[in-house]
Symmetry: C4
Subunit: 196 residues, 4 copies
């Protein structure tokens, strides 16, 4: 790259927003009406929709988790004013795991009662969380942030640790009940309130 440090983060933010918008919207493709055989009546449709409830749940969960990651990134780039090649690469590898979420969600939507499917989903989120934490750690160490107090840096660091912690907690819960392990992510919402 011809320059070591770019003085603008506009376009990386556009790419981030684009990939999040698409990944969040692609989640809906996991919701499909199965091929129905005749005769089809209202009772059939209600039965189909009832059968889709686990998939609606995983759709909503993944949508909200992606929104949380987007929101954390949003607040990180509110402060980050410069970017260099390593930081760009951290962001790209992070996006690689973000764009993988529709696949992980299709797995838990279909086989959410199996530990293997849940652990794959949790590992995907763990990777996103750890890379998000690394992104912030690197950017603050390199002083790419302007007008930020050390207290604010610290707060975002703690929020960044909560996401991997929730993923690890979810992995632990899969040994008790794969189907309910995702409730671990509710702890993020509680945790975020404590540290705000």
């Amino acid at each position: 790259m011809a320059k070591d440090v770019w003085e603008t983060t506009d376009r990386i933010e556009t790419l981030v927003d684009g990939i999040f918008a698409i990944a969040m919207t692609l989640l809906v493709l996991n919701l499909t009406v199965p091929e129905l055989t005749n005769p089809i009546g209202d009772l059939t449709i209600y039965a189909v929709l009832m059968g889709l409830i686990p998939k609606f749940f995983t759709y909503a969960l993944s949508f909200i988790l992606l929104a949380i990651f987007w929101k954390v990134n949003h607040s990180q780039f509110y402060y980050i004013k410069r970017i260099n090649t390593p930081l760009l690469w951290i962001t790209i590898i992070w996006l690689l795991f973000v764009a993988l979420v529709p696949f992980s969600t299709s797995l838990t939507g279909e086989y959410g009662n199996l530990q293997s499917a849940q652990i794959f989903f949790d590992l995907n989120l763990l990777a996103i969380g750890l890379l998000s934490a690394l992104l912030w750690y690197y950017a603050t160490e390199k002083k790419f942030t302007d007008e930020i107090t050390s207290e604010e840096i610290h707060k975002i660091r703690i929020i960044n640790l909560m996401l991997p912690a929730a993923a690890l907690f979810a992995i632990g819960l899969t040994f008790i009940s794969p189907s309910w392990s995702s409730l671990a992510y509710a702890s993020i919402i509680v945790g975020e309130r404590l540290f705000k």
Copy 2:
């Protein structure tokens, strides 16, 4: 989040625009040419296209309804200059239902003659409409809007109530004729003219 109120709504608007653009474009994926068996001639294609007319109608209806919701949001964020965590969450839950529209549309496109399919579609739009109204109510109560008269706030509130009203009207019409119930949404266009 490190700050309680952000002084900018740029990136949330980018996410909103992105999700709308994708949801509106994904609607087209419900239009598919069925696998045809030989011999295939022009008459076959015309028959296929004729058979797709209900799906073209639901495509156009959902595209236009999403455009209306986008337009309402557009005019809301024309005035909203600040955003806090609760407002961000209202927006995200609202987007969750926006991104669900391609699925609801696939349901009415396939089974539009059934009340169950239509009611699911209408409930989806009802949720979008109510959350859009809540978003505006919250933002104006919190004084996140600048340079706006109370008359303008009131006007957008009435427009926001028209969308849920149309969805409820559509639900009522499904008891008479599921296939024609969507005409209820035409009342929005009439209603919007009255209050402009």
Copy 3:
């Protein structure tokens, strides 16, 4: 809408760019590797890729035609500085036909040797072209453009007429040869050079 005329076209341009980017990229979904039965060797793959040539051609054609429409819109909104509700609606109906292009393309990609499929594609482009011309006509009549000479207005009007003319020319050619009728669109590139 609370205001009759907005003094900014930023967000409509974002929606337009988003829908074009998605529609252009979704075109690739029409290119799929068919399910192959064993044994699969290089000769099978080459045969598959050869068989896909008509689909590659329609992919490239639609991609380039969408790029032309985007470019024309680009130059229109370079001058358009204000937008009102009717102009917004013209843009939305125009986008509805833009987002339909991946479907029309799947039809010509699969059944490009049939007149019916080609005419559907051509009618789709005709609608896009006419709405684009209407958009420009309306915006210039309403004086929503700044710093533009009447000569420039006229030039864009002529470019706008070339697109529907090419679509009509293509429809005419389908009566001679459906498979080759798309060559009519090459006349746009020639025509554009004449009037530049």
Copy 4:
């Protein structure tokens, strides 16, 4: 087009970012859980995920290669301040090959052990690389760049040659081992470090 040279590249950058974001996210659609027959247990899921490893690899490779192309374009448009019709067309044809990457990736993901599939993928990347080089060559020859030293122009030219070189290297390697030929792209990362 009414003007020969536009003094802004904002909207072309938005289109570029949009198409990259979508193409990068669509890659995930190549990862699908096959239809499983009962009984399904954790061992089945682990076996499925193991079987998907080649597809995960091609997903990651294509994601990262697209990110590299995006990054190179990012640094090119950091300097390019004006655009004319030929430059717009180079960009559009370049995007046409960028949007083709999800298809090429599906081919290598499915038939990565075959030379034919790998060569198609490599030719796709070769086209992207050559058009990217042409874009930069044209823009610098036309002096569309501001505030750039001839040294910086030269550096980006060399980076632009590395991408086609890696694609040619990969094509060469397919004659030895199709499955491992993609490792040629690792040379870009090494090469980029040398010339930074």
